[in-house]
Amino acid sequence: MIPDSGSEFIRQDDLILVTGAAGFVGLRVIHNLLERGYHRIRCFVRPSSSASEIVSLIGTGQFPGLHIYRGNLLSHEDCRRAVQDVAVVIHLAAGRGEKSVPDAFLNSVVTTRNLLDACADQQGIRRVVHVSSFAVYSNAEPGQRLLCESGEIEKHPELRGEAYCFAKTKQEEIARKMQVERKIPSVILRPGVVYGPGNLAISGRVGIDTFGVFLHMGGSNRIPLSYVDNCAEAVVLAALTPGIDGEIFNVVDDDLPTSREFLRNYKRNVKRFRSIRIPKAGSYLLCWLWERYSTWSEGQLPPVFNRRRWNSLWRKTTYSNQKIAQVLGWKQVVPTKAAMDHYFEACRAADHA
């Protein structure tokens, strides 16, 4: 990444608000901004967050413009105070909700609405960056193999059996609505699987270990990985680039490994474990049967596996980062090979801890 001299659109002394600043991507975004010379950053973190890494950064004394703002995005007042005098809002905070749709919704959609309400009432905000997810795509269009920004959005996220998908889809919906109705200059990013030190879990796109043994579902599918530093680079470019309001960008790396390659390398570099390869037809059948049983049994087994989810996770798909590369000039700052090495190293360290 090349240090930035700032632009007319966003100057280096403009104040930037980052929500979810202590999170996995948030920390990398802060580092990226600081390296570019954007030194006035308001880091919005939950009251329960230690935000230890940001505290350490502040402790070095090198970044006098870096501040922690503890608050709750469910509070209108906290939101109002957080956006005061801000030029850019990078909205990363979201709730995964684990298995609870209301929890995920509350901490993604209600919080986003509150933040955007505050933004709409605040003069001088030039850009709001929403970080969404590939989870919003239905990926069910017949014949479609290449997933790009125009891909169909999940029309019935409530049927996907996935709290995160429902929350992210609704979060985007409200962001787009308020962008138009309240004239909030916004950009939406949709990262694929963001990975790296800090998020070491094997993506569900590779497989699942729900039943005590790892079921390898991905096979020869490419996994839409986005290394955390590459994702942060995209987020920062989306915040700083003029003339892109209303745009949506997929964030995915180059040279994506197949699921099989990923799993093989994981086993070779981190630890060996038993996995069973489930062919496409098998995983589709499993999802179909589970869906049918869930309906028939009135939810005795929750509908966590279903055909919509299969389309989203395990249907053979390729991915494009052409738009973000062309429009934002995004380039992968950490090549996939090096990124995977960092990831496996962190996995090994965690495994030995």
Partner: protein, 371 residues
């Protein structure tokens, strides 16, 4: 068709909606949350007729026969009172109210209006809990209950625990009994069901675990031991722990003839015979008898599962269904009012002794989702 409404569209409301939808002869006419988006998301995901952000408007427009209150505990009393005054029967999630006097006021109000209320002690209506109740009523324990032990543990981990421990303004901290008030009523209710006196003696030992103290916690009591005794001689121990492993949710009840062990997590029920075998037979036969009982538990669980009646919230469905039936047939509600009051009274006594109840000022009342 019984018209049902729900106030509070957080996590627990999903369980209510899903179980209500499995019950024939009722429909959900409205859901309400003071945050309109929360009410709307519930409305969009389930077959619900309308959503509201104002409880009184909903009660007056939707005219529900039954209202489920699934908001945080501090709003239970005011919302249940409002629903009763508007002519609806009320199912209140646990804890029923913050104070026993509020519980009594609600029950008195319901009775004066010819309406019914119940508390969300759904753990008492699982398959094994019902089987245990049948055994007790059939006299398996003997002539009286001698002693009970109720374990209700809670692992403080995950997002909820981090939020609670990290946020000094978390809503659970604003409850008079704090964390204990939000979680112990299931475990206390198991004991209360089999007590016979109205005012048992309650002795409490409470502390903040070393683990929490290391995290700088000075307010959340997470280790609780309670001895309950009544003049008839019946005694009970109640244990709440965030540290004990396995994290038990179990209930043991002993009479003068035999005992019953219920494990809520594993859905198992074991009968303990009072008499002993002679000599070495006592060493060899009981393990075989227990093995047979556990095998029976396994087969029963499989059977119930195959019959599509082993949902995680099957106890809630049974309780709701029983409550609705009591409304339609004019029979007593599934949880006797004395039991609801006794649980509230025991909890009052616990919080008075743990010192987690600083004062009795009424907190701001609001209808919001329980996250």
């Amino acid at each position: 068709m019984l018209k049902v409404a729900i106030i509070g569209c957080g996590k627990i409301a999903d369980s209510h909606v899903e179980q209500i939808l499995r019950i024939k002869g009722c429909e959900i006419v409205a859901v309400c949350d003071r945050e309109p988006l929360m009410a709307q998301q519930c409305y969009e995901r389930y077959p619900v007729k309308a959503f509201y952000s104002d409880a009184l408007t909903m009660l007056r427009e939707a005219r529900p026969d039954v209202v489920h209150i699934t908001t945080p505990p501090e709003s239970h009393f005011a919302l249940a009172k409002m629903a009763l005054e508007e002519g609806s029967h009320v199912y209140v999630e646990k804890p029923f109210t913050l104070y026993e006097r509020d519980a009594r006021a609600l029950i008195d109000l319901a009775e004066s209006l010819g309406l019914k209320v119940t508390a969300g002690h759904d753990d008492q209506f699982t398959h094994v809990a019902r089987e245990m109740r049948r055994l007790v009523h059939e006299g398996f324990l003997g002539t009286r209950v001698v002693h009970m032990e109720s374990y209700y543990c809670y692992e403080l981990r995950g997002a909820y625990a981090n939020a609670l421990l990290g946020d000094k303004n978390h809503w659970v901290r604003r409850l008079p009994g704090k964390l204990l008030q939000n979680v112990i009523s299931h475990g206390v209710a198991r004991i209360a069901e089999f007590l016979t006196s109205e005012s048992p003696k309650v002795m409490v030992q409470a502390s903040i675990s070393p683990e929490l103290q290391r995290r700088g916690e000075a307010e959340i009591v997470d280790e609780l031991r309670v001895i309950i005794s009544e003049e008839s001689g019946t005694t009970a121990y109640f244990t709440f722990s965030s540290q004990l492993r396995p994290s038990l949710h179990s209930f043991h009840i002993y009479g003068d003839k035999g005992g019953v062990l219920l494990d809520h997590d594993q859905s198992t029920l074991v009968k303990l015979r009072g008499a002993r075998f002679k000599s070495y037979a006592e060493k060899f036969l009981p393990p075989l008898i227990l093995a047979k009982q556990y095998s029976g538990n396994f087969l029963r669980n499989v059977t119930v599962f195959l019959k599509r009646n082993f949902h995680m919230k099957s106890g809630m469905k049974y309780l709701i269904e029983s409550f609705y039936r009591s409304i339609e047939l004019g029979i007593p509600p599934p949880i006797p009012y004395r039991e609801i009051l006794l649980v509230a009274r025991i909890m009052d006594a616990i919080f008075e002794q743990t010192g987690t109840r600083p004062g009795e000022e009424r907190l701001n009342v609001f209808a919001n989702s329980r996250s």
